[in-house]
Symmetry: C2
Subunit: 385 residues, 2 copies
């Protein structure tokens, strides 16, 4: 096990009706900016519950934050928050709304060009941020309990992640009933997003980290067991509770302490979203199986362990068991209704060339061993046609 | 899954040499009181490393905090801390030193009789506390990453737990090499203490909490796999790392969110320590197997799950599998060198009567179903003769 630091001060309020308690968590004299997405919270009653809970506060709002939140749109919220002298941000939505709100939180007090917060080096780390709370409506990204965010720029087709300990939410409300009205595809996307958050931290090489392995496997097993039920039985509170908690635990930092991490699937997936507008989870579901096949030698020991503990694969040669484990993974994504090949989305090898080119120019080497060059990325993309 | 709140802001600094970084975590102008136990830290070099890391601070010290820290001794530290105008407490030791230091932290600014912090009702909750840091030398209690503590009173043979969110350590250093010089019995005690912290939160009744179950099982499996190695191979960094992290994760609150908890083994065990001075872990190792046998009907479903997932027990009738699971548990404790029967410690049924009497007078009903009355406690004690 490697040395590490772990710190996560987010207060979780979990359960039906917990939104009623948020007034206790926000400074009395706060000017609150509620941020949200496409407006589903106004149809399913969540917006009204939040407004009821905020009685007595001065509240303003900024809606319309899109999936893969755009820098250009978020800067409008930054201007608005400055004008209204907002002192507290309450993100009501999924990972995109929360990520966008983290950017707003960092950008409002930032005196330079806020784009530098995303692409800048050390000179532009976050030194100040508005406090944030969140009311989660879409379990997926884990953003409600971590300090990172991903923001895109339309004009340049770029997607960047950034983060700071100052961006941990002060609190996050996780009410499983708020997820009842989600469309099936969003539930499926969330399960797959969380699943691949775990594999990025787990499917690397053995590093004598027993708890981290067991806990990662526990999240994966839970998603495999309950993911299909979340689709087939959408109003089951227990199923939704476990899916919600799985997604939060998948990326709150506790699984990655002291172990190598990969994140190549995400790095490649981000480009697919930037170029083709594919849902984040879909990009991951396309890339992961091919990446595992391509990197099977480096990941062999962990793939065997994963096959055994998550899928019960115990027979056959090592090669056969690795095959089976990867196949089970891809089939699981498909069983959630998510297609896993570029052809399913009408994307051809020619259209993927600019992505390989971008990685070639950057010269990045991805993966837990820093061996995934642009050549290997090309192989991974071809393997997913 | 039940509704819950979760909040744990402790910063963990994990790994060899991490103590060198503590100056960054303590206010520059702090007056630091180092608290410690019997002085082993002066022999194994930990004291010197801490002092080196604190160069530039005004440092005073209070040693001699005993296992099962005593109110009477801790009050001396409270007086001393007040006299020296201490502003930061650094506990260097195991759970007893950390628990004692939590009491000191709460008692120094308390204006009433500090004993009321332990036995008092709501009128005496902690409203102010000195900040604490910890340097852990004995993995066991989890106190380094939670907000609770247990303190005893010599004069009345009482042992009480208390806690407050104000008592979370600001930081805790977990350096596995600091555990290399521990005596075998302390390592064994720590493993068993952590094991039973988990069973108190897990061996109850099924509550549709998949992550909590899997994570509890993951800690138990790790302790079963590595506990004996920690004894047989005491200088193995990886083994010690995993034991240390297991003990911390066993009682930082993440395993008990949204699930029923038992804690009867601890409640009974505390009395055994108060009456006979037995090590905390030994009291738990005596009580748990007998408690599981006595409460086997209420705990049946979880005992079957535990047997299967932790011990691989899959054959036989339900009754046989429950028997096997409990037997495996008791044998595990014995394999760590801990004896599990009162007779092994020369304690007779007559000597146990005052404990039954005390529970009868209190009228407490313990356990996840509040069904463990003094009669059942008597049966549990008899079952462990």
């Amino acid at each position: 096990m490697n040395s590490f630091e772990f710190y996560n001060p987010v207060k979780i309020l979990f359960g039906e009706g917990k939104v009623d308690e948020i007034a206790n968590e926000i400074p009395e004299d706060a000017v609150v900016l509620i941020t949200y997405g496409g407006g589903s919270i106004k149809k399913n009653g969540v917006y009204q519950k939040v407004m009821n809970a905020l009685k007595g506060f001065k509240v303003v709002e900024f809606g319309g934050i899109e999936p893969n939140p755009k820098y250009e749109d978020l800067m409008k919220a930054v201007d608005y928050a400055r004008k209204e002298q907002v002192t507290f941000l309450l993100a009501v939505g999924g990972g995109s709304v929360i990520d966008g709100t983290k950017f707003i939180a960092a950008a409002v007090p930032f005196t330079g060009d806020p784009w530098n917060l995303l692409v800048g080096g050390k000179a532009f780390t976050v030194e100040n941020a508005l406090p944030i709370g969140t009311v989660l409506t879409l379990p997926a990204t884990g953003s409600e309990m971590n300090s990172g965010a991903v923001v895109s720029r339309k004009s340049t087709q770029e997607k960047y992640s950034f983060g700071s300990p100052l961006l941990y939410p002060k609190f996050s409300v996780l009410d499983p009933t708020f997820t009842y009205s989600l469309p099936e595809t969003q539930v499926a996307n969330g399960v797959i997003d969380a699943f691949i958050h775990v594999t990025e931290q787990y499917l690397t090489y053995p590093d004598q980290a027993h708890i981290q392995d067991r806990w990662s496997e526990g999240v994966l097993q839970t998603l495999v067991e309950l993911g299909p039920q979340a689709i087939s039985n959408p109003l089951n509170y227990d199923v939704r509770s476990n899916i919600m908690w799985s997604c939060t635990m998948a990326l709150n930092g506790i699984l990655s302490v002291g172990v190598p991490t990969d994140w190549a699937t995400h790095m490649i997936g981000h480009e697919l979203t930037a170029f083709f507008g594919l849902d984040h989870a879909i990009t991951l579901a396309i890339i992961l199986p091919s990446l595992l096949r391509t990197m099977r030698d480096e990941k062999k020991l962990k793939l065997l362990q994963y096959g055994k503990r998550v899928w019960g694969i115990e027979t056959g040669t090592d090669d056969i068991r690795v095959d089976k484990a990867i196949e089970a993974t891809e089939k699981f994504f498909q069983s959630m209704g998510i297609k896993t090949r570029f052809a399913d989305y009408g994307i051809t090898i020619d259209q993927l060339k600019p992505i390989v080119e971008r990685f070639k120019q950057r010269g990045w080497k991805l993966g837990e061993n820093k061996t995934i060059t642009s050549d290997i990325i090309e192989a991974i993309l071809k393997g997913a046609l």
